[in-house]
Symmetry: C2
Subunit: 200 residues, 2 copies
DNA sequence: CCCTATATCTGATCGTCGATTAGATCAAGC
DNA sequence: GCTTGATCTAATCGACGATCAGATATAGGG
């Protein structure tokens, strides 16, 4: 048994996803090669195609895992907070934190060939879930608004959070010398986003 | 003379950039192939490499052209408006309009291999210029703030504008049935962004 | 225990791409 | 007209995504 190498990998799909996740975390998704990944887990170049129809599908699976992981975090936040305003704030902060922890994964999820030129339908669904979570909190904090108005404010809030996280990832945040800590900046931005969503 | 095809292209660099711009506008930058482009303008596969060291540099040149074009629009707005608050609003709207007119070009400029994993240094410079333009208007509208505070508010404003344009490009804007026109949404978002940048 | 059905992987192959290089071709100045 | 320097051709390399026939392993029924 130790002489002959085992022919099959036990669970190739899982191993590929793990290797892919590790690669992306380290280098981003752009240079990810199915062939190299196959070689890395000790399998022939064609093997992955029995588990994923093409490279895009592989990346999509990784992105979906990322969304699930992120939504799990959101859920735990929703469970551990009580007041809607507090929830709104914590959800915003959580996204920024997640984006900071896994910047390359977020890139894949939000700014990759999976989202442009045309956003993948499956990913769109996850976006809706996240959007709705924010929407619910805003509707709770500021009741008696039309659906349109709530949509607008949700959009304003999410745009600010997403935009900030996106710029942060790219290292575009230029602050004056003597700047505050980045964590504080994130909190300040979230608070200002809430301002734009909840006032008047 | 009409029998023999001319050996050289007159200005290959310019022709390649034009063809590249056209391709990107139609299909996005992801599928852009230097070889295909060369063939399109009637030149051998290796010819482009006498004008651009590699594919990345070619895309970079296209992105820079895009930034210059966008800054020209900004400049004309800065010249044709008087009040800082008005300028701030118009600049925000202009970015959103530009992003809507050339979505794939904006993708290249802000969400491509040129910006992630590491943002190209030349592009960063353009970002600074745009950021400073916004910053100046905000500082004018709300004087007597610390540099830090102005930075923060500029960041809040720009995050919201950029985030909105980014979501819009990806078709993530989900509004309730009976939604207002998208242009109105853009204006509403810009106004809410100003709210978060200028209040309290 | 064997034998068959099915899932999985190998190994070779195709076409495309980015990039490099030697050599051909052109335009300009002496 | 000859030389110099820039520009392009044509051939080539290595890597990649994807496909496919055939080999190999696993599971279930006799």
């Amino acid at each position: 048994m130790p002489a002959k190498k085992p022919y099959h990998k036990e669970n190739l799909r899982r191993d590929l996803l793990e290797a892919g996740r590790a690669y992306i975390e380290a280098n981003g998704h752009l240079g990810l090669s199915i062939r190299t990944l196959a070689q890395q887990v000790g399998v022939s170049p064609g093997a992955p195609y029995h588990h994923f129809p093409d490279r895009r599908s592989f990346l999509l699976a990784l992105a979906i895992d990322g969304f699930k992981e992120m939504l799990a975090v959101s859920q735990s936040i929703a469970d551990s907070t009580t007041k809607p305003a507090e929830r709104l704030r914590e959800l915003g902060l959580a996204f920024i934190r997640f984006a900071e922890t896994y910047p390359h994964l977020i890139d894949l999820m939000y700014e990759s060939e999976l989202t442009s030129p045309t956003l993948d339908e499956e990913l769109l669904e996850f976006q809706r879930v996240g959007h709705d979570a924010l929407r619910r909190q805003i509707a709770a904090v500021v009741p008696d608004l039309s659906d349109q108005e709530i949509d607008l404010r949700t959009l304003a809030y999410w745009s600010a959070i997403y935009g900030f996280a996106s710029m942060r990832r790219k290292g575009i945040i230029h602050t004056s010398p003597g700047a505050v800590a980045t964590v504080d900046i994130a909190e300040a931005i979230v608070d200002r986003a809430a301002l734009s969503a909840l006032t008047s």
